[in-house]
Symmetry: C2
Subunit: 326 residues, 2 copies
Amino acid sequence: MRLGLDIGGTKTDVVAVGADGAIVERVRLATGFGAEAVVATALDGIARVAGATGRRPLDFRSIGVGIPGQVDIATGSVSHAVNLGFDELDLGRRLADALGRAVKVENDVKAAALGAYHLMTAESGHTARSMAYLNLGTGLAAGLVIDGALWRGARGTAGEIGHIPVDPQGVLCPCGQRGCLETVASGSAIARQWATDDPIPARSLLAAAEAGDRTAQAIRSLLVDNVAAAVRVLVLTVDVEIVMIGGGLSNLGDWLLDEVRRVLASWAVESPFLASLGLESRVLLVPAGFPAAAVGAALVGAPRPGEQAAASAVDDEEQRVSTWQK
Amino acid sequence: MRLGLDIGGTKTDVVAVGADGAIVERVRLATGFGAEAVVATALDGIARVAGATGRRPLDFRSIGVGIPGQVDIATGSVSHAVNLGFDELDLGRRLADALGRAVKVENDVKAAALGAYHLMTAESGHTARSMAYLNLGTGLAAGLVIDGALWRGARGTAGEIGHIPVDPQGVLCPCGQRGCLETVASGSAIARQWATDDPIPARSLLAAAEAGDRTAQAIRSLLVDNVAAAVRVLVLTVDVEIVMIGGGLSNLGDWLLDEVRRVLASWAVESPFLASLGLESRVLLVPAGFPAAAVGAALVGAPRPGEQAAASAVDDEEQRVSTWQK
């Protein structure tokens, strides 16, 4: 059994994942603000899930953490986690010291890519060897699975497509460029363009668009068109078989998926080249409520499907891992 | 020793590559037009290079072909090779039947990616495990090396970044979309925008721009800015360590490289995010005259550096291959 955490700006999601990849236990806690509170929340979550499974933290085959910010996966240190209230945290070492065992740390979008890929292949029986997880949260970023394994890139920044400019006339992005994908297709893009008291601005935006508000309709079009553009960038550049959409905006559910597919299909009518790629059939949505980043964090370091299991565990555990690998 | 061919619209380049990866023999022939003539040119080139090395075609460890168009690498068949005068050719089987041995066929840009990666790692001692080869020819496309191996994508279309739109106000692309990278940063983009009798329109364009022609300067800026944009797309999406520029326009040499680096550096001044990626230090140029696609074709199917050599050859040949692998 493996344990995974997704430390988000408001919630920390902790899961225990069985050898077959299924979620055995799950706990959600409010994330404390600041470095010490984040560590305390993580340790609390680990203790609770371990307790619920009748195990000690030492008994898990692996413990992994997905967290926003820049992660040094070799050392487990995290930088620039603005939403969590710290600039630098040696998270891996802090957790390892407290638990007396190794803890892997990974960027949350990359962890979610692994979790979404696992869901797609192990549970849905999809045989794709490549996938992009397109995270539509406050920002826009992707995680890549290539040849069945997470591809972090040469410097850990693979998938930062939110900062590809798509319109020279677009607004200034906080990154310093103009017209980035993230300025039109993300939670922050909606919040910037649509003033509302609704804690979920996207919901308010869609309601207004539905009611005929032209401004809302324009913002909505820009959102959908550019989520489709993100899918196009991912398939044209990496040729991943599947793009799975997740993150906060994926709670818009089938409406979002249908709209993105509609836009992709409309492009295919204009472009035989795009039509040949079958983009609209390659987009999926992470099911609502599936804790992709926590499951992925649990699987960070697990042998990938088709690989030999690490020969370090007791026999029955090995047996179950082998089953999962099929 | 391995043999590789690059079948281009005007020339067919044939090389014999030693176990250390160095070019031993090289022959260039005019490519015949149409399916039969292409096959005849290939067989002629193979016979000449084999003869020059004192070997029969059967004696080479591998023979590979790089060719424009859509390639089914499993069967060796080629489609949509418009510039070569055919729509469909079972090239792999035709050559295999004539030679009595297997011949591998690969898309020319992907073969060139492998050749450029080989040059960078084996000859320059670069240790990068990822690279994009950015081909600026009639069109614009990239070949990707990920984790030391060619990544073709789920459906063989990885690297088709020439058809990522970068300007909603841009011109219609033959692909059916508007404002594609290829419409502003390729040989065909220059030919469309700059009327000249010079057989090398880029040369005429640069001379006019240098002489103060405002239109030429605008076209030149668009070219350089969008080659830089292609580099940005490749690094932001895949996070390849290096982008190597090749293809016809790379004959513009250091001027092009300097200009692209200048643009990337100017973006970094505006964007701390881009600055953190160090883009301008990650761009290189394939050396003028290096037959990247032919060398890559020779290496298609060769064990990648660090992998076990195939255990099928005579001992001394194995020995030399092992040396090359270091």
